[in-house]
Structure formats: C-alpha cells, structure tokens
C-alpha cells in the first residue's frame, strides 16, 4: 500500500504495482484470460482490416465470440471480485459462474450458428 500513499513519478508503474499487490490469484487468472481474448480479438480485427473481411459472417462471429467471451468473463470477474461484494448482493460467486456458463453456451450457440 506504500506505493499508493507516496505520489509515484511514474503512474503506470504505480498502477502495475498496486494491481500486483491487491489482486488475488483467482482474479489474475481471469485477467490473463481477458488479455488472451483481447489479443485474439485484436488479431482478428487486424486481419479483417488488413487482409479481407470476406466471409463477413465468419469474421463477425469470430470477433463477437471473443468480445462476448470477454465481457462475460469481465462480468464474472466483477461479480467475484470481493471489492464489489456490496453491489452484488444476490449473486454469489457460484451463481456468477453458473451465469457465466449459461451465457457462454448461449453465445457459442449463436456463434456456431452464424459461422456458416
């Protein structure tokens, strides 16, 4: 917590330090998944812009599967984050995971349906 009290010269570094300190391994686990999804989405988008968007529906379903999975995982993250416990009174971490699983399956259904 010391980094927080003293104004660091480099805000990015302080952000990184505080993140490393304060975040539990579980959340980091989700965060790395989020990073993966983000990279994957960026690659697909770059492919669409740089090379071709030809099977447009395939691109859309691929891209939206990463975006969708990202927001679902981000939702899961914020639901299981102990810091947000007050906001989610009715959602226990297990319920959150169940929601995540259901949302993912529905999402994947539409993704496969759209993939062509």
């Amino acid at each position: 917590m010391s980094s927080k009290s003293q104004p660091s010269s480099n805000p990015m570094a302080s952000l990184w330090n505080s993140y490393n300190d304060q975040t539990s391994n579980r959340l980091k686990f989700i965060d790395s998944f989020l990073v993966y999804l983000m990279l994957s989405g960026i690659v697909q988008f770059a492919y669409c812009v740089l090379v071709t968007s030809f099977p447009y529906n395939a691109f859309l379903s691929g891209f939206s599967s990463t975006v969708g999975q990202f927001v679902l995982a981000a939702s899961l993250r914020s639901q299981v984050n102990p810091a947000n416990k007050d906001e989610f009174k009715e959602v226990s971490p297990e319920r959150a995971f169940a929601d995540f699983a259901l949302g993912s399956i529905v999402l994947h259904f539409f993704v496969y349906n759209f993939l062509g």
């Binding site: 660091s8 939206s64 679902l72 906001e87 529905v106």
Partner: protein, 781 residues
C-alpha cells in the same frame, strides 16, 4: 400501537396471510388473463373465426406454408406470384417469429393428438399472447413498485383498447406477439440491472432475439436499453451491475439478432443500431477506468485519465472518419427520418405517408385508446421521479420516448400503451395504498388538523389581502387540493416532513370512502369504456363488414370474400390480377392469384406503375396492363352502399405515387376541378373522368338508379348520367353491394384492329374506312 380507521383482524398468523395473498394473486392473474382473452373474442362472436385486415392474410398464408412444408422449406420459399413478374424471396424478407410461433404451437398440438386447424391457431394467437403480456406487465410493474401495482398494471394492459386494437382474435400480425416480447425483454433487463446477473441479461438477449425475429419495432428496444444505460452513466450511477447487465445483453443480443436473415448485418452497419454499440464501448471504457481508479491514487489517476482521454479522442475521431469515408455506416433510413420530421414522408416517400397508420395521431384517439389512463399516466411518471431508482429512470425515459413517437404515428400508440399502463398502475396503487391503509396518522393532537386545514384556507386568506388578481390564481390550486385530488394527498403522504417524526395520513372512514368510491367508479367506468370500444371499434375484421338493418338486426356484407372466391373459381390459376397494393395480400391469400403489388411495399416503382395504370386513360393504361400480363383488374367501390375506404378515396395517393416516378405524365393538379376540388360529378376534370379508376368505378353505375339521379353515397355527389364506355376492359364481375368490381382485360383484337375501333364496330358504329398503307413509296426527288 397506532390507531386504526377500521378494524383489522389481528389474530392471523403471517404464514396464513402470505399464503392467502399468493393464492389471491394467482387467482387474480388467472382472471385477468381470462378477461384479456375474452374481451378479444368479440370479433369471433360477432363475425366468425376469420383472419382480419390485410397484413395478417400474408402472415396466415406464410404460416400455412410453414405448417405444410416445414421450416427449411419456408426459409427458402420463393413466391413467384407476389410482385408479378418479380416474385418475392419470402424467407429472407420476412420477420419469421410469428409464423414460427404458430408453427411450433401447431406441431406441439398435433404431437399431443389435438388436430387443431392452423387457421384457428392463427386467429387465437393474439388473444393468447395478450394473457402473457398481462403476466409480463405484472412482473415488470412488480419490479417498479410492488405486486398490487403489478396486478393493476396487468389488468390495465389486459383490457386497454390501445393494445386490443392490434390484438383482437384474428388480427394475426407481428404486433400480436411483439408486445409480450417487448415487455418481457424489458422485465429481464430491469431484473438484470437490479441483480447484476448475467443470467437475466442472457435471457433478455434471448427474448430480444425473439423480438427481432418477430417485429421490426425491435429497434425500439435496441435504442431504449442503451439510452437507459447512457442516462444512468451520465447521472453518475455507473455500477458493475449495469456493466454486467448491459454487456451480457448487448453481446448475445446483437449476435443473435444478426441470425435473422431480414436483419442481416444491419446491427453493425446502420445508424439505428450504432447507439447501442457506442454505449457498449463507453461502458467498457468506464468500467476499465473504474478498475484503474481502484488501484491508483487520485493524482495519478488524473494523469492517466488525461493521457487516455486524449488518446481515445484521437482514436475515436479517426475511426469515425475512416468508417464514414469507407461508407461502412449506412445513413438513416427514410422511415426513421419520418419519425423525426413528420412532414418528411409526405414530401419524399408518399408511399409511407399513404398508409393511414403512419399518420400523426389525433388527440381524441388518445382518450379513445387509453381513457382515464392517459390522465393518470403523468402522475405515475412523477411518482417515479420521487423514488428515482435505476428502474424508475427506465420508466421515465420510456414514457417520454413513447409519448413522442405515439404523437408522430398512430401505429406507435401500441408502444406507448404498456408504459401508460405501468405508470398509471403505479399512480393508482399509490393512491389506494394511502387510502386503504387503516393506520390513522399518529401526530400530536393539535398540530395535525392545523396542518391539514391551513393549505385550504390559509392560502386564500393571505392572498386576498395582497390583491384580487392573485387570489384567483391561488384559489385554483387550493380548490384542487380541497377537492380531494389524489395527487396532492399522495405527496402529503409520502414526502418526508420537516420533522423526522412527522407522519401524514388520512383521518377517518369518510374521507377514505369518498376517494376510494371515486377510484372504484373510475375503474369500473374504465372497464365499461374498454369493452364498449373493443366491441364497437376494434372488432371488425374489415374483410367482412356489418351494417344495421332498419329493425336493428345485423346485416353482414361479405362482398370481399364473394369477389375473391369468384376469382378463385372462375379464373385461370395463373391469371394476374391487378389492384391497388392494399388488396394484394388478400388476393394472394383468399383468391390465390398472382398480384402485381401487395402490402409489402418494397418496390416503389412497381407500385407507381400500378398507380399510373389506374390514373391514366384507357389507351395509355392498356399497354401497361398488357406488358404486365394483367388479366383482371380489381377495384373497390363504396359508392353504392357508402363504404368509405374505397379506391376513389385512395385515388389521389395513386396519383401522387405515380407522379413521384413520372412527373411528366401524371400531375396531381389535373385531377382536381379548376376550383381545386376533388369531385366526381359533372364538374370533374377531364383527366379524372378519363382515368381508368374513375371509369371502372362508375361504369354502369347510373343504370342502377334508373330514371333517378345517381348519387355516390360516399362522396355525396351526383354521378353524371352519360354512360361510360370501356373499350379495353370488360366488366367481369361485380359483387352484391358493388364493393368489389372485377374487370377483364381484353386481348388484342384478332383482326389487328385498335380495340377502340373494334368496340365501335361491334356496337354498330361505322368507323372511318381505313385504307391500308401502300408499302411502296416513291423516292423523294
């Protein structure tokens, strides 16, 4: 122990009360569903189990194909008989939700060995779904206030004419199921927002998908929910619950909405859908900022914020410029413009303006459709302001948007109705809460009466001293207050007083009784009004008309079906029938004949071609008819019995639409008398009298009246006696009341003559002797 205004049993255990309440709730919901279904059956009882109006006939026809051939066949259905000779790819240009619903119900019933006719399923689908709508509205309003308000809202929506008008038995249209889906999607959204559960967000998305598949009005949801989320963010009410609810809804909902072929890639390419995408992006940024903020000090945070804001601004602007430059984002569509500029449609797209349900709403129809709810509705909205939880904001936004749209287009009254019911139910149940509550206000004995009394008398007293003019103004609110208006007492009851302990309430049984009796009377009168409006105004199938005999008994006018069955029985199966587009679906559905244009008005030029044929003279129309292989022309004529929805009254729209495409050949002003009147009598302009539509409508009309003066009963004008001659058409059939007249288009003369000459020859007139032209011509020297 507070004093009670009337005795309340005290020896009941809480569980008994709870059980009794839930039992009563179920009974009430069941009764409301029953009432909702029953009041929609007037049409079936007064007439018969028949599909109504125009669009439902197409839906019915499509459903029959779906039921008979299965879903995949339906998906690939190309209908060569519509829009002859173009045809229509039905599977890709239709919202299949309605047909799929009926198809599923049909197959389920068949699997249960209940062989119900598909027509009856289609006829009764709308009443069935209205019961579900009542249930969804109950759930939605329960989230807003409590269960008693929910029950009131369910009862309101069950019988309110504004919704019945689109969901009587036989009105087999997309709106029949769409309102249920609308309300249920909103309920799931509110629920998702309240609990912050991705489950409800996903369910909302799935119902949103159903809605997209069912009705083009899904765009309303597409913009309502993002607007709500945006307003919440702007009010500084961002929460992770909002993030979870919105993102899970948006991602699954958008992806799923693209599965509907008719929608296609629109959700990522048209401006109507961009708002939702923008809010989605904004939410990501806000959520990420929130995360960062929780990890760094405020000073650092501000530095980070500044850098990232600049970066985001540059990125966003360049992305937008790029997309606009590349033409990736389609501009707003015309129908959408007409929502903002009410004169737009009339100027640029007469075909949209020509539809009566796209006209701006007349004031009386608000009262007609909503009765007292329209007056209580603002009170409910104000009550929402009082508490102003996240979900109340939704009702407020919904109320504002829907009120505006309902004012622009009659048709959108339908989207206003649910929110009116919800808000009125909130207001009404607050009123009842206050006045049914048996607890007498518990205040120091002397103060309370004084507080109550002062506003009524004190205001007038103080103002009379200052001047007469002011006192009059002040009198009014005082009078309103004194007359026991529900609103003022509500505020008195709920608003926090100056003192922390101050309570407000109602004293005595009499004041309660006056207000409650008044409220009950209003409710009862509402029920009467709804039943009356439903039975009188909204239960006519418009395919079958009813009139009163002189002894008061009902007389059924069945000319439409008479004509359509005549076509079905007496014409070749591939005989093309031309009519104005209103009747296209009916001809396809009932007569099973190819049509030139129908109610799916996607091709303006084609419709204008029909308009041109109808509004030009016979000689000019004939080549058009022959080129389109038209064998029969069908016109609706109400002049004999006074049916006002006939083609002569729609004729100016035909002229206008034709003028839009051929401004050189058709001019609207030619159809008016020199004094600018639209007349069909002797004074009618020459162009009008020579137009095909005029000739077909009044052909041999004067003969019906014998020696008397023929009068058109719709326009109350005398019809000229000079007989009308038709050279290029033959009268093929005219129904009992002359509502439908069918003409056969003559083939080219077998002797190669002009049909006009041939007709003149046949009637015994000697034509000019015509010499054949010599083939040989001398060279010009």
């Amino acid at each position: 122990m507070p004093s009670l205004a009337y005795p309340v049993p005290t020896d009941l255990s809480p569980t008994t009360v709870k059980n009794a309440t839930s039992f009563l709730k179920i009974v009430a919901l069941a009764l409301i569903s029953g009432a909702a279904i029953a009041s929609r059956l007037f049409a079936v009882i007064n007439f018969e189990s028949i599909i109504h109006e125009f669009d439902p006939w197409f839906n019915y026809r499509a459903t029959k194909v779906l039921a008979a051939k299965g879903f995949y066949e339906f998906w690939n259905w190309f209908d060569p008989t519509a829009w002859y000779p173009l045809g229509r790819v039905v599977g890709g240009t239709v919202y299949p939700g309605l047909m799929a619903t009926s198809g599923v119900i049909y197959n389920v019933l068949r699997a249960l060995n209940l062989p119900v006719d598909i027509r009856n399923i289609c006829v009764l689908l709308a009443p069935g779904f209205s019961a579900l709508t009542a249930w969804a509205t109950y759930l939605f309003t329960t989230e807003m206030k409590n269960e008693s308000a929910g029950l009131l809202a369910a009862a309101f929506i069950g019988i309110v004419p504004g919704y019945i008008s689109r969901s009587v038995a036989g009105s087999y249209d997309n709106e029949a199921i769409a309102i249920f889906l609308l309300m249920f999607t909103f309920y799931c959204w509110i629920k998702a927002l309240k609990t912050g559960s991705a489950l409800y967000g996903t369910v909302a998305a799935v119902f949103y998908f159903y809605m997209v598949a069912a009705w083009g009005g899904y765009v309303f949801i597409t913009n309502m929910i993002p607007l709500h989320a945006l307003v919440l963010m702007l009010m500084g009410r961002f929460s992770h619950r909002l993030y979870v609810a919105y993102c899970s809804w948006y991602v699954v909902g958008t992806l799923s909405s693209m599965q509907v072929p008719f929608v296609g890639f629109q959700p990522v390419s048209t401006s109507e859908h961009m708002g939702a995408l923008g809010v989605f992006g904004l939410l990501q940024i806000v959520a990420f900022t929130d995360l960062v903020k929780s990890h760094v000090s405020s000073q650092n945070f501000q530095k980070l914020l500044r850098v990232s804001l600049v970066a985001a601004g540059i990125l966003g602007a360049s992305a937008f410029a790029f997309l606009t430059y590349a033409g990736k984002i389609a501009p707003w569509t015309g129908r959408f413009y007409s929502l903002w500029d009410t004169g737009y449609a009339k100027k640029y797209i007469p075909i949209i303006a020509s539809v009566s349900e796209h006209q701006p709403t007349a004031w009386p129809s608000f009262f007609m459709d909503l009765q007292m709810l329209i007056f209580i509705f603002p009170a409910g909205v104000i009550l929402c302001f009082k508490e102003l939880r996240d979900e109340h904001l939704f009702v407020i936004i919904y109320a504002v948007m829907a009120s505006y749209f309902a004012g622009v287009m009659v048709r959108l009254m339908l989207t206003l109705t649910p929110v009116v019911c919800v808000a009125s139910a909130i207001a009404f149940s607050s009123l009842l809460d206050v006045y049914v509550n048996p607890i007498e206000p518990d205040v120091p004995a002397e103060e309370a009466p004084a507080v109550e009394a002062v506003p009524a008398n004190g205001v007038t007293e103080t103002t009379t001293t200052t001047g007469g003019k002011k006192s009059k103004k002040a009198d009014k609110p005082a009078a309103v207050q004194a007359s026991g208006s529900a609103l003022s007492s509500l505020f008195a009851a709920k608003s926090p007083g100056k003192g922390s302990k101050r309570t407000t309430g109602i004293f005595g049984l009499d004041s309660r009784g006056v207000v409650l009796l008044n409220a009950i009377w209003m409710l009862a009168y509402f029920v009467f009004h709804c039943t009356w409006v439903t039975s009188v105004a909204y239960s006519s199938p418009s395919v079958v008309l009813a009139s009163q005999n002189q002894d008061g008994s009902q007389h059924i006018i069945d000319d439409f079906r008479e004509a359509y069955y005549w076509l079905r029985q007496n014409t070749a199966e591939d005989a093309v029938v031309m009519s104005w587009w209103d009747y296209g679906y009916q001809i396809a559905g009932m007569a099973d004949r190819p049509t030139l244009v129908d109610n799916n008005t996607w091709n303006n030029t084609h419709i204008a071609t029909v308009g041109k044929a109808m509004s030009s003279s016979e000689e000019k129309a004939y080549p058009i008819l022959r080129k389109h292989d038209v064998e029969y022309v069908l016109v609706i004529f109400g002049g004999l019995i006074g049916y006002s929805g006939d083609d002569i009254n729609k004729f100016l729209w035909m002229v206008r639409i034709a003028q839009g495409v051929w401004p050189d050949e058709i001019q609207e002003s030619n159809y008016f008398t020199p004094r600018g009147e639209y007349k069909i009598d002797e004074n009618a302009s020459k162009t009008m009298k020579e137009s095909l539509m005029y000739k077909m409508s009044y052909y041999r009309f004067a003969e019906v009246f014998g020696p008397q003066q023929a009068v058109d009963r719709v326009r109350q004008q005398p019809v000229p006696k000079t007989p009308i001659t038709l050279d290029y058409l033959d009268e093929a059939y005219t129904t009992e009341n002359w509502i439908v007249r069918i003409y056969q288009v003559k083939k080219e003369d077998s002797l190669g003559r002009d049909l006009k000459n041939a007709n003149a020859f046949a009637t015994g007139k000697k034509g000019k002797k015509s010499k054949p032209q010599p083939r040989r011509r001398a060279l010009v020297a």
